[in-house]
């Protein structure tokens, strides 16, 4: 049973990495035209779970102006939202991520129609969390750093730019490349980032040191394409 569960877990992580890689390539302008539905090897529970894990980022290439994938992409996102809604005991990160995917679907998918209501997500942590915890949560929600999404979250993080910058440095020193990339992506979006932070060079370093982690590459590519920060 444990072996089966481990196999399933690893297969989800693999699919998440594959999809993240496809999105990163699309943001880098490689890999031809983008379609989320074409990235998924099969329309099964694991593929839908991967869409839910990556959240709004699965639609990031459409925010750049890529022609939307249309009906098949919309169906995939709808199924993922229906299969993995945040439960009653879901974490705030999970609720925020769900909101982000709904917001991105409304903004970037053409069909419109009735998308699920966005559930209320707690925001008190934006004021109360100490800076290491704040950075950790912000990095988990880096997909919401896409332009136009979650303005309240972006404003809350902009008010704590120095704390986020401190957390970025801490993550780099801890060699937590995914957290560093997520925090760096938010820092690319917020105004008034201290010059002394060296964000551009930091993002280049994080991407290089991550050893090709597709999720790190996705954050770095998004910071560059949407906010002109990081690797050129």
């Amino acid at each position: 049973m444990l072996a089966e569960q481990a196999q399933e877990n690893s297969s989800l992580s693999t699919v998440v990495a594959d999809v993240a890689n496809g999105v990163a390539l699309a943001l880098d302008g490689e890999g031809g035209s983008y379609a989320l539905s074409a990235l998924l090897a099969q329309d099964d529970a694991v593929a839908l779970a991967a869409v839910r894990v990556l959240g709004a980022d699965v639609l990031a290439p459409y925010a750049l102006g890529a022609p939307p994938g249309g009906g098949p992409d919309e169906q995939v996102v709808r199924k993922a939202l229906a299969a993995y809604p945040p439960g009653a005991d879901a974490s705030e990160v999970s609720v925020w991520s769900y909101r982000g995917l709904v917001e991105a679907s409304r903004a970037f998918l053409p069909a419109g129609g009735d998308w699920p209501d966005t559930p209320q997500a707690g925001a008190a942590w934006l004021q109360t969390d100490p800076w290491p915890r704040l950075t950790h949560r912000a990095s988990q929600l880096a997909a919401l750093a896409l332009p136009g999404l979650a303005p309240a979250l972006a404003a809350g993080l902009a008010a704590r730019t120095e704390d986020l910058a401190r957390g970025f440095v801490r993550a780099v020193r801890r060699r937590d490349w995914l957290q560093a990339a997520g925090a760096g992506r938010w820092l690319a979006r917020v105004p008034d980032v201290p010059q002394s932070l060296g964000l551009d060079a930091g993002l280049v370093y994080v991407r290089r040191m991550s050893g090709g982690d597709p999720r790190v590459a996705l954050h770095a590519a998004a910071a560059r394409r949407f906010h002109l920060r990081g690797p050129r």
């Binding site: 569960q5 399933e8 992580s13 779970a49 299969a83 439960g87 999970s94 290491p132 020193r173 957290q179």
Partner: protein, 62 residues
């Protein structure tokens, strides 16, 4: 039939895994404070160069 019975179990396990990936704990980092490392090195060096503990000279029993 078997797949119909196992599907909800698989979905529930995946939902838990999704939650775990979304809200994963911060990994344990190796974080070394330069000043602490320097202090440790200094202490080790002092111990190495310190003279041996004085011992009472051997006295001849005869």
């Amino acid at each position: 039939m078997a797949s119909e019975l196992t599907a909800p179990v698989e979905t529930a396990a995946l939902a838990a895994e999704v939650e775990g990936l979304l809200d994963s704990a911060e990994p344990e980092g190796i974080y070394r404070d330069t000043r602490e490392c320097g202090g440790g090195l200094l202490l080790a060096a002092l111990l190495l160069i310190s003279p041996p503990t004085p011992r009472a000279p051997k006295t001849d029993a005869r």
